[in-house]
Symmetry: C2
Subunit: 331 residues, 2 copies
């Protein structure tokens, strides 16, 4: 007998990875969303509850990326059933961690498993891009692709989606620092320049090539040298009060590099060991607080599995631990 | 007793490698330059002969990149001797194959060997960049670096030179087609746009990331998909009569991709086997001739050794074979 229900975890993600604006993303071990999906006799998609979102997200399935993704999946594979979904958000929205993509990834992975795996993961990414296009007005993949696939993902092309798995170095630790402000992706896009200097672009693509090479060879020093972003970070960092000071604190304390996760406001830093990664996080938090901004930090490795069925480890690290403070005052 | 003379081969190179304008280059098995260097009691650098250049190049060592490179090397390591050099050029100048860089690379490699190897190859590249800066007015490295180091080279940064060896796929064959016109690098730079659209730049760096990933994973299909150049090729190809037709012929006959070597006019195509690479070359030649343009083609693999002392194999393939027609009418 086929399964009636499934519970799926899909990880938060970091779009851009410094200089790779709109083409690179990676999956985090935490945070992430958990979605329960159950088949129902009665047609229609119902989102019965959303927790952890401070009542921000719509339960109307046509306005919620998870609902839109479910609808797209059912249409794509001509599956005529009803669904009930419960969404547990374990990360803030508008934080630059791919919150909406994680919910959509969880739904797509879960439905695929529930209905006999009609798609491989890359096909799920394509459906995810389409749903993001419906839900957000434009189809990006730097969050949905790593959330579904895990690891470091290159979106070589978005017009005709071409998704490439990049080797994930085993020895990188990621410090994430979330200052409690919200940045809308749309606003963070609107402030970007329409045109850039060719000479700047050349610097940027030198760094992108260095970053990719560093990932394959696990050359942490090369990764660090390649992280400067000459185009996007100088503009977007202005939306984050105290950004330069916080970043300098990370570098001063031994981070390989530091930049903005997605469109922000979360910052990330790369380090070569866990102890350093934690202590950099504390320093960055303190610096934000010195700028009268509440912030919290945590450490994650690269999640190479992507979306998966919930297991005991996920339950304890995502649901059980108080590693992450969901701010009351924000989002 | 230390050596009195040395004979060095340094390979031709292909700057840019399609979308990697100003950051990527690779070394070819052929063509290349051979330089004989001999210590002399009497101070001063003398270029006693240059062959194969159709009397184009200056023998004045202050105006010849090989002479300038020799001078820089002697200064850098405070070596106070005289030198005599004979340069055999086995490639046309102004062809987009890094002709001047090859002569400089041969000299630097040869002097380093002659004087007890005071420098590693990457240091030689830095001296080479400085000499190119003197000889050509601006220091680029996408020819000098691969000619010295071999393989595929990333120039991540030129301001503070950062030279990265990229993995060279073993299964790539390169067709080179040289139409008998000359393009000055300077002119080919002057016609480039000063500013580009951010959206174009994103497409370009997606392809650069794909290309680098394809090199590491030896994924020829990914390499081919990543070769489109949205920024430089559309402008520079206008300097090469019949370019689009010739390129289409290459793609129609199974090339993975096709673009301009350096600033042109030489075209290159990648293929997955030698037979295909040769037949693509013949088709491209024919198409140039159909456009009333003489052209000749040859096939090379990636040269992973870089500059080296001349051996029997080099003598027979570079000096001995008539694989390459040096046009009387040109350059």
């Amino acid at each position: 007998m086929s399964r009636q229900k499934i519970e799926v975890f899909a990880p938060a993600t970091m779009g851009n990875i410094s200089c790779g604006y709109d083409i690179l993303g990676l999956a985090l071990e935490k945070p992430g969303d958990i979605v329960k999906i159950e088949r129902k006799e009665q047609r229609g998609i119902n989102i019965t509850s959303i927790s952890g979102d401070q009542q921000q997200l719509p339960t109307n399935p046509q306005k919620n990326t998870a609902g839109v993704a479910a609808q797209k999946f059912l249409e794509e594979f001509k599956i005529d059933v009803g669904l009930e979904m419960e969404i547990e958000k374990h990360m803030p929205t508008g934080s630059g961690l791919g919150s909406s993509a994680a919910s959509a990834a969880a739904v797509l992975f879960g439905l695929n498993k529930l209905f006999g795996q009609p798609a491989d993961r890359k096909t799920l990414v394509k459906i995810g891009i389409q749903s993001e296009s419906v839900a957000c007005g434009s189809g990006h993949a730097d969050n949905i692709a790593p959330s579904l696939l895990g690891g470091i993902i290159l979106i070589r092309s978005i017009d005709q989606p071409d998704i490439v798995n990049i080797h994930s170095p085993k020895n990188i630790f990621i410090t994430l620092v979330y200052p409690h402000i919200e940045i809308k992706t749309e606003e963070a896009r609107d402030i970007l320049p329409h045109k850039i200097k060719l000479s700047q672009a050349v610097k940027q693509w030198g760094n992108i090539a260095g970053l990719i090479s560093g990932f394959y060879t696990e050359d942490l020093d090369l990764i660090g040298r390649s992280m400067p972003d000459h185009i996007i970070e100088p503009v977007r960092s202005k939306l984050i009060p105290g950004y330069n000071e916080v970043k300098n604190e990370a570098l001063k304390n031994g981070a390989l590099g530091c930049s903005i996760s997605g469109s922000g406001p979360t910052l990330f830093a790369f380090s070569e060991n866990r102890t350093k990664a934690y202590s950099i996080g504390k320093k960055m938090e303190e610096t934000f607080r010195g700028n009268k901004m509440e912030a919290n930090s945590w450490v994650s490795k690269i999640n190479t599995k992507g979306a998966q069925e919930v297991d005991q480890q996920i339950v304890s690290s995502i649901r059980g631990e108080k590693w992450y403070t969901n701010p009351e005052s924000c989002c």
